[in-house]
Symmetry: C2
């Protein structure tokens, strides 16, 4: 499970903490009554209609405890047909709903803003099959990613996605948010690895886009509409996922570099010489390392420098001497320091150093965290500019999946900056970060999505014509706006 800082705000748990929430008005949806609850109980098991207040808190609160909604009922259907009936009913009555997977999202997309009914997918967790011939996993949307990973691992296969929240997140949520993760550079997005899905529209229609055929040009590819739409266009209930043969041969190196231009040069050479042998290229700066060392993490390198790259290459063939290839590559470039892991323990230590940076930062105090994407030549400029802005008030650290242009920019405030200032600091920092991104044609959300958290900044990464088209599509598919309202677009 991803370890994330639980922010403790000075205001009470159930108050809506953020400005984005404050601006919103509840839309004119029907308020749930006893009759509605009775209807839900006629469709799904009574135990799966949760109305007990103490149980509701759990479902109403997001992963970061940053967003808390007020759903009066949580429904846990077991079949696509049950979801179809529920949505058809809600659509007729104009009852708003929030689809909820593992609730591990970081942008408040999977909890209600007001009193939307939660449709939780946790009871739809059947692994249906894995087809060896086509390497296709067939499962329900409520399966936990780690369970799927273990299932296909035993078959000599690997899932195309791996991320910190794997112990809790659901595959349906991974699809609905087009989740990224550490193997993106090798296998690509969830979109690229989704071979089929079933989704229920707002009116209850079931869209069966479950053909596992690699080529199928028969009209619009409807599954694309649901992937990445964060539950605003339909509820994904079932899917077919491309799995990949496990790599038999993996080597890992960490190298230290002086200038960011060196980082880019190496990245380009790596792509040129290694091609699809590359399975990860991760990046962090020395400010990140300083924080990690402060918390006792081991640095395998003898000499420090300004930037670090972790390079993983892998192959399906054991005949390939990857260590030689990596050594040969590294010997040709001008390195101050670099290490190739000699065993599994060393590999683990190197990965730990990178993967625990977020955790390390959270130990320092209040952290503002941005999941952004920028063209590589601009990748580090925003970090330096942010550093100039915050001065001595904070340490600015940068790390991320450089192979995917994905930067995690963290502003770690000094201990004397109190938690209750979070909200003011964020309101100062957000417009700067997102306007900067707009100027360099970056993305305000690389992998986490928009949800409620970034919806007011959507125009920093999308033109007004594009946002208008999103509204046209939303309105065509969900004319009553019952599906995950207030999220992405308003």
């Amino acid at each position: 499970m991803m370890k994330l800082k639980m922010f403790k705000f000075s205001f009470g748990f159930f108050k809506v903490p953020f400005k984005s929430f404050k601006k919103l008005q509840r839309k004119n949806y029907k308020v749930i009554d006893e009759q509605d609850i009775d209807y839900f109980k006629s469709v799904i098991a009574k135990d799966d209609v949760i109305t007990n207040e103490s149980d509701l808190i759990f479902f109403n609160t997001d992963w970061l405890k940053k967003y808390v909604g007020n759903a009066p009922v949580v429904l846990r259907p077991k079949t696509t047909e049950q979801i179809s009936k529920i949505l058809n009913y809600c659509n007729q009555k104009k009852i708003a709903v929030v689809p909820q997977g593992g609730n591990t999202g970081l942008v408040g997309g999977s909890v209600p803003v007001f009193d939307e009914v939660i449709i939780n997918l946790s009871k739809m967790n059947k692994i249906i099959s894995h087809d060896e011939l086509t390497s296709t996993l067939h499962c329900e949307a409520g399966c936990i990613l780690e369970n799927l990973k273990n299932y296909v691992d035993a078959l000599g296969q690997t899932m195309p996605i791996d991320l910190g929240a794997k112990g809790s997140c659901f595959i349906g949520g991974n699809l609905a948010t087009n989740a990224g993760g550490i193997h993106f550079v090798k296998y690509g997005s969830m979109r690229k690895n989704c071979k089929g899905l079933k989704a229920v529209l707002a009116d209850g229609s079931i869209i069966d886009s479950m053909s596992p055929l690699p080529k199928n040009n028969t009209g619009y590819d409807l599954k694309q509409i649901f992937i990445g739409s964060e539950g605003t266009l339909g509820i994904i209930t079932e899917c077919l996922i491309q799995t990949h043969p496990k790599m038999k041969n993996i080597e890992l190196a960490i190298i230290a570099l002086d200038k960011f231009t060196d980082v880019l040069k190496i990245y380009e050479q790596l792509k040129e010489e290694m091609g699809d042998l590359i399975s990860a290229i991760e990046f962090f700066d020395n400010y990140s390392l300083i924080i990690q060392e402060r918390h006792g993490r081991m640095n395998p390198l003898q000499e420090k420098n300004n930037f670090y790259l972790i390079i993983e290459i892998g192959s399906y063939s054991i005949d390939l001497n990857l260590k030689d290839i990596l050594e040969d590559f590294l010997s040709k470039i001008d390195l101050k320091d670099g290490v190739i892991a000699q065993d599994e323990w060393q590999k683990k230590k190197i990965w730990d150093l990178r993967e625990t940076i977020a955790e390390g930062a959270s130990k320092e105090g209040l952290v503002l965290s941005y999941d952004i994407s920028l063209p590589l030549p601009k990748f580090y400029e925003i970090v330096e500019e942010t550093r100039r802005r915050v001065g001595y008030l904070a340490e600015v650290i940068a790390y991320g999946h450089i192979g995917d242009n994905n930067l995690h920019l963290n502003v770690c405030y000094n201990k004397f900056v109190k938690d209750e200032n979070f909200h003011i600091l964020e309101s100062i920092m957000e417009p700067f970060v997102y306007d900067y991104i707009k100027d360099v044609k970056g993305s305000i959300s690389a992998e986490h999505g928009i949800g409620i958290c970034k919806s007011e900044y959507l125009n920093r990464s999308q033109t007004s014509d594009s946002i208008e088209l999103m509204k046209i599509i939303k309105n065509a598919l969900d004319p009553n706006g019952i599906l995950n309202p207030y999220k992405i677009i308003n």
Copy 2:
């Protein structure tokens, strides 16, 4: 250029030849008048407003000369903004239009059915740039695929798509039809390789979905809507395409197998042992070979058998001894005969044998040709069933991209079956083929699309709810239905 048989029908050139056309009624679009022509001439160069009847024939006729429309005018805009103005005008006046690329489609999607205005993209053929760092090609939609291929080749890169029509087809059309081709098994679909595009909606709005960032989860991924929609939702005018480093090391083998179950077994083992080294797995049956031999093609194998596989593996690394790997693999399987190409000439001969099957078949006489996709265990059954049905009347041959489940099923009628019977034979064969595909959950169009040719059979590969949703999307984006009417859905 792909060599395709030009069918000579007994009815006149400008008559609508097919049943699918006969059923259609012209919808109530405005008929073009002088004022409209004057408007077009005010937006684009006069020379690019073509109204001369002898010139129009070329644009009105599809590649196979199977479909002939009656557009009174062809427009050749040079910019996205000009297309925006034209569409905005046409939308207001309810003038129907057909976007046209290289006009190499095989389902009649790029020519008018009645008197729709042709918007031909041939004047938008600028290659804008190639970004080395991200391997991204930026170009206009009217670029010919082969020109792009030559351009990136010189940079040590390769295009993700390669197909027979590359000398004529446009990249915009490749995107609009989500084209496949011979490298699909290695690089995937056009959808997977499109990093961005610009499209103009029916009302003239310009959708700029041109972010080349690998990760960008900021709302709905609008480019997905236009890819594969065959010009019915918008006109693609510009794009960003992922290119790939050229493979440095390629080996090719051809093997003969006894049973189709052997084909599947080898395919599975290949995937398991070679992983992403595989760059092509092509298939043909002995009936195809017999036709090829009749036309003097060389068969490099000593012994004949029922099925043949061509296996190409490739690597970016020259350190990998692919020949050893391939030899090792082939020595472990029980083969009647197999050959590894020893030089470029042998490679070319093996590829020729496969790539000229369609041409060989067309020399025999009247051919019905189906581009279909089936689950692999069912892949060859339809061929045998078709063979039983046609008896001595025709030779039934099967070949295709087995790595993509893509079968080209050709029914080659004997010479005494006259061309004018095409239409009757097709009307007998089509329902059988497409119903069979429906039963086995295959696809009636693997890579060619639906166009006008297969629209009445769309329900064999899509549910009624899915077709309904396609209509909702079409209606939302193009409420007046001016964009490529009568195609895909009606």
